[in-house]
Symmetry: D2
Subunit: 81 residues, 4 copies
């Protein structure tokens, strides 16, 4: 594959597209960190906000079922609250 | 660094120690997977067992505090169960 | 924190911002996967393209130095190509 | 599932086995870190040792093929050393 050949330019185009997208991904990750930092600065508990975000992704029934089983297991282990 | 020199042997010794330990680590990971598979085969919910294992690592007071804040946030978002 | 209170709305705003950004991040990750799939479909070796992308992030001198040390170690271990 | 029932004891047994294995895994990870620290203390380049460890896991022919393609791509991009 000769330098500056059509094929080399084609390869470079793929690489540059990947690099731009990776840059976008890095920027979005930083934006997410900034929002958490802002929430923390406002007094919210970031770890709990992460839990809420993850709960909101879950199917409600599935989550309820898991919570019930968790309660059962914790009670069986003498760990129920 | 000549091949078979004392230094080369010293380097190889480090590498072989790391390789043996990585092999051990791989084996332990497989053992953990086996226990979860066994528990699943017995009818337990593996995802919930993972949660119990993680809860048992947590400081009790810290966990209680987080659960309370989570309850507050979920109620505020109309998501309380 | 009462449901629908100003504070609850403030919390929800943070959560929705995080969710939108996580959605953007997921989309960019999928776009990256698509470009690699397109490159693969064109006949390029995806694993090697990943290596090129990672090499292009590295400081040239640092990379040269590492390659030299790697060559030394591989030769000392009788693994030089 | 009653606390202290046979089933509860069975569940606890699974959990304790997982916890012991996770402890073993943590210990092995620390041992690996120690070996790398020892190698570093002796003057070896830890990042390069990691590369050697990973190369030794690779199939020789596969690795040679990848190195050739990498050389091709780097030359095509004017990055050959």
């Amino acid at each position: 594959m000769e330098a500056n050949s059509a094929e080399a330019k084609h390869l470079l185009a793929f690489i540059e597209r990947i690099e731009r997208l990776e840059e976008d991904k890095k920027q979005v990750s930083e934006d997410i960190k900034d929002v958490y930092a802002e929430a923390k600065g406002t007094g919210y508990d970031v770890k709990v906000i992460r839990k809420v975000v993850s709960i909101r992704k879950q199917d409600k029934d599935k989550r309820r079922e898991e919570e019930e089983i968790l309660g059962l297991y914790l009670a069986a282990l003498g760990m129920a609250e």
